[in-house]
């Protein structure tokens, strides 16, 4: 059923008793043309764009838990395209453009809220780095504005812009078109859209093995039986290396915990997404009123989706210092998600040495904003067996050649990106 003013009025009149399931709950078939492993944002977007852009619908998305249990439902929901490296710049800008039309395209309100993403800077060196990045963005055709201290204060009065701060604010780099999106809606909207075009979305179906014969994929083993497939697309976010191992892939990826935090809801205090340049802290106020934020990685490899107290204390310190009014705001909940960190901080979307097997992963802590473009370009790769121009740099071979896409310059220490 299409969502429209009239369908809503009609249903309101009948007590909302006639809304259909937003997607079916089919039994897995014996075989599909394409099996997508992982029903997170990227997996669902891939399925949707395979159907929408390439007319391919004999597809199953296999999800080991309930749909959207992974990072798609655990992240800080920030979207932006303020990248330095050109490969990232064009890819994330494509993504942001897709976000801008996504609610209408999906007929599902994902609540893109372009209230701007601001990165503050606190030293002359940081200012210069911000100018470098902002200019790179502008030359990529992306919007960017440099703000001075007064402008930062005006945009986000909650920020302590006083000279007495521990790290006084000197200014900030603003991407006005950045913002946030309602994360669960993204998973559900893509699921509904893919399902409506005939894709089977199968929950509680964990892939436990990948069948390969003479260098070509044949199908997957799952907790709900074997499923044959001509093409298999891995897109499992925090489990890339584990699923990669099933096909003998050795990936330049480490898995780390990143925590996310949310406070009690309060009346609007912060309009813009801000990230604190002097430490690790990025915050957005949700439409519900909670302040949602994250800090740095917890600092060790883990698959446990929960975090430690050091990070908790560190973000609380940043929050109540950067925005002193948050000192008396109460933290409600915090949780962890597993980020697959690559050696250069940029993702991988590629063919693999196994014929018919594709890999998409290594999104570090920035893959939410990538969701539409990741699906779009991955679908292109799967359909045509050729990389999409906007994702052609996201190869595995770059780690051999050295043509890495090192966005922050941290080098081959995944935990530092």
């Amino acid at each position: 059923m299409r969502y429209s003013l009239s369908s809503i009025l009609r249903n309101a009149a009948t007590g909302h008793k006639h809304w259909p399931k937003q997607w079916r709950q089919p039994e897995p078939k014996k075989a599909y043309d394409i099996v997508i492993v992982g029903g997170g944002g990227h997996g669902l977007a891939t399925a949707y764009y395979l159907a929408r852009n390439h007319g391919l619908t004999n597809i199953a998305v296999l999800e080991k838990g309930y749909l959207g249990n992974g990072n798609i439902g655990r992240n800080t929901t920030i979207v932006r395209s303020n990248y330095l490296c050109p490969e990232n710049g064009q890819f994330y800008e494509h993504s942001l453009k897709l976000w801008e039309g996504l609610s209408q395209d999906l007929n599902y309100n994902v609540m893109l809220s372009q209230r701007g993403v601001l990165n503050t800077f606190h030293t002359p060196a940081q200012r210069d780095a911000a100018i470098r990045r902002g200019n790179a963005m502008r030359l990529h055709g992306v919007d960017a504005v440099l703000l001075n201290r007064e402008e930062v204060k005006k945009l986000a009065p909650a920020i302590d812009c006083s000279p007495g701060a521990r790290f006084p604010v000197r200014g900030g780099l603003l991407q006005p078109r950045g913002g946030s999106v309602r994360h669960d809606a993204v998973a559900w909207g893509f699921a509904r859209g893919a399902d409506a075009r005939g894709v089977d979305i199968i929950q509680n179906c964990e892939v436990t093995g990948i069948r390969i014969e003479s260098g070509r994929v044949r199908g997957v083993e799952t907790t709900r039986g074997s499923i044959a497939a001509k093409k298999i697309a891995i897109v499992v976010a925090g489990r890339s290396t584990l699923v990669g191992n099933m096909a003998g892939l050795r990936l330049p990826i480490e898995s780390h915990v990143l925590q996310c935090f949310v406070t009690e809801p309060v009346k609007p205090i912060l309009d813009t997404v801000v990230s604190f340049g002097a430490d690790h802290f990025a915050v957005v106020q949700s439409d519900k009123g909670g302040l949602v934020f994250n800090g740095s990685l917890d600092g060790y490899n883990s698959y446990a989706q929960r975090g430690n107290m050091e990070t908790l204390e560190s973000v609380a310190a940043c929050a109540s210092s950067f925005m002193p009014c948050m000192s008396r705001l109460r933290l409600l909940r915090h949780w962890g998600g597993i980020n697959d960190m690559t050696m250069d901080g940029s993702p991988i979307i590629t063919r693999t040495p196994v014929k018919g097997l594709y890999f998409n992963g290594g999104w570090c802590y920035g893959g939410f904003k990538a969701t539409p473009a990741s699906g779009w370009t991955y679908a292109h790769l799967i359909a045509n067996d050729e990389p999409h121009e906007f994702a052609s740099g996201f190869t595995l071979s770059r780690f051999e050649t050295g043509l890495v896409i090192n966005e922050n310059g941290a080098g081959p220490q995944p935990g530092l990106h």
């Binding site: 209230r115 309602r182 000192s327």
Partner: protein
Amino acid sequence: MTGQSHRLPQGGLIDRAQTLSFTFDGRALSAHPGDTLASALLANGVHLTGRSFKYHRPRGLYSSGPEEPNALVTLGTSGRTEPNIPATMVEVYDGLVARSQNRWPSLKFDALAVNSLLKPFFPAGFYYKTFMWPRSFWCRLYEPMIRRAAGLGALANEPDPDRYKHAHAHCDILVVGAGPAGLMAAREAALAGARVLLADERPAPGGHLSGETIGIDGKPGAAWAGAVADELAAMENVRLLSRTTVYGRYDGMTFGAVERVGDHRAPDSSSPRQRSWTIHSDQLICAAGAIERPLVFAGNDRPGVMLAAAARSYVNRYGVLPGRNVVVFTNNDDAYRTANDLAGAGARVTLVDSRAEGEVAARALLPAGVEAHYGEYVAGTKGRAHLRGVTLASSGRGIACDLLCVSGGWNPTIHLLSHTGRKPVWDEATASFAMTDPGDGAFAAGGAAATFDLGLTLREGATAGRAAARACGCRLSGKADIPKAGQLPAYGVEALWRVPDAMSKAQGSFVDLQNDVTVADLELAEREGFGHAEHAKRYTTLGMATDQGKLGNVNALGILSELRDMPVAQAGTTTFRPLATPVALGAIAGQARGRDLRPVRHTAMYRWHESHDAVFTQAGLWLRPYYYPREGEDFAAAAAREVHAVRSSVGMVDISTLGKIELKGPDAGAFLDRLYINSISKMKLGRTRYGVMLREDGMVFDDGVVARLGEDHFFITVTTAHAAQVMQHMEFCHQVHWPELDVQFCSVSEAWAAIAVAGPNTRDALARCVTGLDLSNEAFPFLAAGEGRIDGAPVRIFRVSFSGELGYEIFAPAGSGAGVWRAIMEAGEPYGITSFGTEAMTVLRVEKGHVAGPELDGRTTAADLGLGRMMARKKDYIGRAMAEREGLVGAGRQQLIGLKPVGKDGALRMGAHLVNELGAVGPDVSQGRVTSAAYSPTCGHFIALGVLRDGRSRIGERLYAVSPLHEEQVEVTVTQGVFVDAQGERMRV
């Protein structure tokens, strides 16, 4: 001041001799010590305390604990404004100021209550289906509207004037909850010799006993609890923390807790408001009790509907009668105590029990005069700002009442047992989710273990205390001494997730009170495919309110299981996450707030800089002099003067922030050979060398000076930014790659102050203060290293130069740094020696073409920076193999070059990009960038270093340096990167 209309003439654990005054929404009211804000409001007849989140429905006090969903208030004023605090947890003090929230213009009349009328259009998840047309309206109209309506209380945009502290505690056994189970557990464990920490969020021990009439060992429950707590307090191995909420459990038996040190008194800054504890324990005993479950029926959210045990606790603990005409609606025996206690306090009570009469043993306990209905439900309520009556389901009878007490059974409080990933399981006997297997090192006792009999609770507490003590190695002796508890009715709960006809009135039957989630919302969620507990939560916002689903979640699971036609045991639960109860961010931050967010690092000469008007800049945690303005000088003028002093006479700069590492051992040279791209082990004694390190991936990591002070003795400097990382890298390499190398090293960054002195007159100036070292060019040539004394202190002197002038770096023990600095200042006085800051330092090194932080940005190779010739061919070193990869050596790399404006007065800025033509946009437009730029007083125009695609072959080319952010474009010429003394003669004189 109004009278306390609902205060009983006697009873309660309050001090009637004293009266306190406080305000609620500006109204002056009175209370007694021992009151919570909730009990005080009830005593004053105030029931309406708040508005719900979505529909702004009037809501009243619902509970007496931290699970309170409705009575959330804003406390305090200006910087002490604190929103969303449950009135049930606030101890009243004289002068307390509280306000209701989420209403406009007033609590009684709230304009947004119209939302309630629009309810048919706003079911769960409605926003996913609407607000999309026209596209631009979401951001401009709908979202701002939603944002304004949402949120609960408001923050004041002012700094918090209070203080917070961090503390660590170590114990063998952490006991959470000082109710009967926790007290018994703590006592047994402590008697066995274990170090016990007992934490409870309430001001006094006793847990629910304080709200009950039941006694232990012939004493009232609270008195018994007080006596046990006194006994524990006298033991050396016990620490009692009251007003302390353990909010989270983390891996490795670490717990977070917050102690409300000062919240129960008028604010004063002499002591911390709250203390944040990190508790490291060996064992956990969770004795956190249980939380009563609401019942779900139409109109179950009116002010005047309250949990049954809460109602009797207001009578017993606070001497307040929350209602005079009372209906008790229950599915279990426990609420009979409420009927009993309220009737005893003079209320007229009617009991409605969903169970069939024959099944209820407790009916014998009802006092005379209580009318009881069995197999009956409350089907609806009347009233608006306050409850006026209820309607019964089968008889259709109306009963007038001003209080409806509900009990749907009890949920064990098991958050701390679940935070590290354990899932509770359904327990049919108690109709609850319980932690039957709490896992290694953890125990549950009492209500938290779904035990609802007091005698059993005491025994279970004792058993857990002993088992935990044994687990951490204590020897037990004798048997536990279990006190005798009064008799309670059997619990006899029969699950009731919603009264049967809640379906027909689903819209008015609330499951999550604060977030306004109704049965209809759950039905819709299930209908649309969101029936899984986790999906329903996200789709309807169930359990995401400030009580985190403590009240509503289990009912919701029950309802969903019915809708999905599966046993509740299979419906699954959502995940418990810390924090068990919300905590102020300031408290978690502790001292690390505001100026104390991170430590400030000062060099030994900091005071001198300060008293000489230095303007400081941040460098990591350090404060460094940026420039030293003199009367009438701005930034540029000061920097130009400082540069000029160095080029023409002598200047000095504090470089103490450099990382410094000292190495000793027969393999020290070999070790450094493997770290630096150039050869180190062949260096002569008493010499220095410029060294470059790569990362594993072949990119430049760091640069600095290596000095050989002895055959087996080296001293290296590393950049300020990478000081810690280089040390880590060296540790890693030694411990993991080459443990066989006989070398010891340690960071001595803090041990040495460092000063760079440079300029043509440097030698003459230094000669006036240095003793024990011949500084003549013959005895101490360029790149020499030696030791001498300045101002009596032993110093290390290296003849190196980043400015291209005759220069020395002087290292003095940190304690002597300030003295040495002053001595050099004095010695240089005849030459007009000038202190300079980091800005002049940048200008000087750019003039000389030296790379620094902006060029070493982690993406440049040694070859890119023109240092390729330093890369030794005959040895291996970290990064060598990877530096030879095609991507790092091929064409198209951005290489270091110099830049100058074509017109003399063009200004260059760092961060500008280099483009071939103006106006183009795209991924390949940027050819490189300006890495470091400065106005050079020496050259008389701007100069810059930059990196440019294939730059070394483009010397002489003209390009544009553009900064679209500033709408600037400057035509530049590509040059060699050295602007001053290209032959390098001046530093060798």
